[in-house]
């Protein structure tokens, strides 16, 4: 009966596979994977410089990737970079805030106090490294340590501006978007950061 043919057709529509969006989703997923693969290691190093702790840095990068994927994956891919770094910088700031609250709380508690100079030292750092490193590798490590030390002495906003502009190649507008401030502020923070780093590293570099 033709009536039942119509009914069958209706149920085929109901149960049929998803049309075009599946391909779109696949393409979008590939693009997101490519983007995250490009930024993940750099983001980790940025977080590590700011937080001084590799595990915390990994946590923040992981959270940032998840947040970008869940909330902004459907945005145009050109917007992902400033969005991702904004999420990352917010995550770093949140963690630093939590740490400072915990430190303040700990000063009121009885018992051994945290040594601020020793706070971020990894116990593994004191273990002798028996591997033989190439001289270039040693020089590179030393240069990075000096750079890290100088970057950590900068005010947070200056450090953010310098790393996003110089290391990640974000332009002024993207950096402003990532930092949540005006373009003028980015220029000021960046200029001050370069001057301070020049003073600190000038003799060595």
């Amino acid at each position: 009966m033709s009536g039942f043919d119509t009914l069958t057709a209706a149920w085929m529509v109901w149960d049929g596979p998803a049309p075009a969006p599946r391909g779109v989703v696949l393409e979008q997923t590939r693009e997101l994977d490519k983007f995250l693969a490009e930024v993940e290691r750099r983001a980790f190093r940025i977080a590590q410089v700011a937080l001084r702790d590799p595990d915390d840095a990994l946590d923040v990068v992981q959270d940032s990737m998840l947040k970008l994927a869940r909330n902004y994956a459907e945005r145009p891919s050109a917007e992902w970079r400033p969005l991702f770094y904004r999420i990352l910088e917010n995550g770093i700031r949140d963690l630093q805030r939590r740490r400072s609250v915990r430190k303040r709380f700990m000063t009121w508690m009885p018992g051994p106090k945290e040594d601020p100079d020793n706070e971020a030292q990894d116990p593994l750092d004191s273990v002798a490294d028996n591997s033989i490193a190439a001289p270039e590798q040693l020089m590179q490590d030393q240069a990075m340590k000096k750079l890290e030390t100088s970057l950590r002495e900068l005010p947070a906003r200056q450090r953010e501006a310098f790393m996003l502009r110089n290391f990640e190649g974000l332009d002024v507008a993207e950096t402003a978007s990532a930092m949540g401030c005006s373009e003028g502020s980015v220029k000021t923070h960046y200029s001050r950061a370069v001057h301070t780093l020049r003073k600190q590293l000038g003799e060595v570099w």
Binding site: T6, P21, T29, L32, R41, F44, L58, R70, Q137, F167
Partner: protein, 138 residues
């Protein structure tokens, strides 16, 4: 101060620091790389799952409309094939059938209602269909 005019010494600092940073990124240990890779896979999977769920949900209005059409078709077939309703109807059978069909089709905007009605009265339609096929010619 014009930010675009950069002193050569500052330019050198920018370039040197960028090189050192890039080298430190390239020399990340395998454990960290592996954990970052896992984190990325999890993020991409979350995005794909979310996008897939959304595309399925976006089909719902179409599906409910299709359900409404299907309900109208079932009712139309049951009535048109000369069910018992025709005997008690004060209006001619064909006219009554098309009126009922219009009523159900008109509820296409709230097609969910039509589907619920169909589910609630499924026994009735089943009975109506059997009755129509077993009823002796009058």
């Amino acid at each position: 101060m014009n930010e675009e005019i950069v002193e050569p010494a500052h330019r050198a600092l920018e370039e040197r620091s960028r090189t050192v940073f890039n080298e430190s990124v390239d020399s990340l240990d395998m454990r960290t790389r592996s954990r970052l890779n896992q984190a990325r896979q999890a993020a991409v999977a979350a995005a794909a799952m979310r996008a897939g769920r959304r595309s399925w949900l976006s089909r719902m209005p179409v599906l409910t409309s299709a359900g409404g059409v299907a309900a109208a078709a079932v009712l139309g077939v049951a009535l048109w094939s000369g069910g018992p309703l025709g005997h008690h109807s004060p209006v001619p059978a064909a006219e009554s059938t098309f009126e009922d069909l219009d009523l159900v089709a008109a509820s296409d905007e709230g097609a969910g209602d039509a589907m619920e009605m169909l589910q609630d009265d499924i026994d009735f339609y089943d009975w109506a269909d059997k009755a129509a096929s077993s009823e002796p010619a009058a």
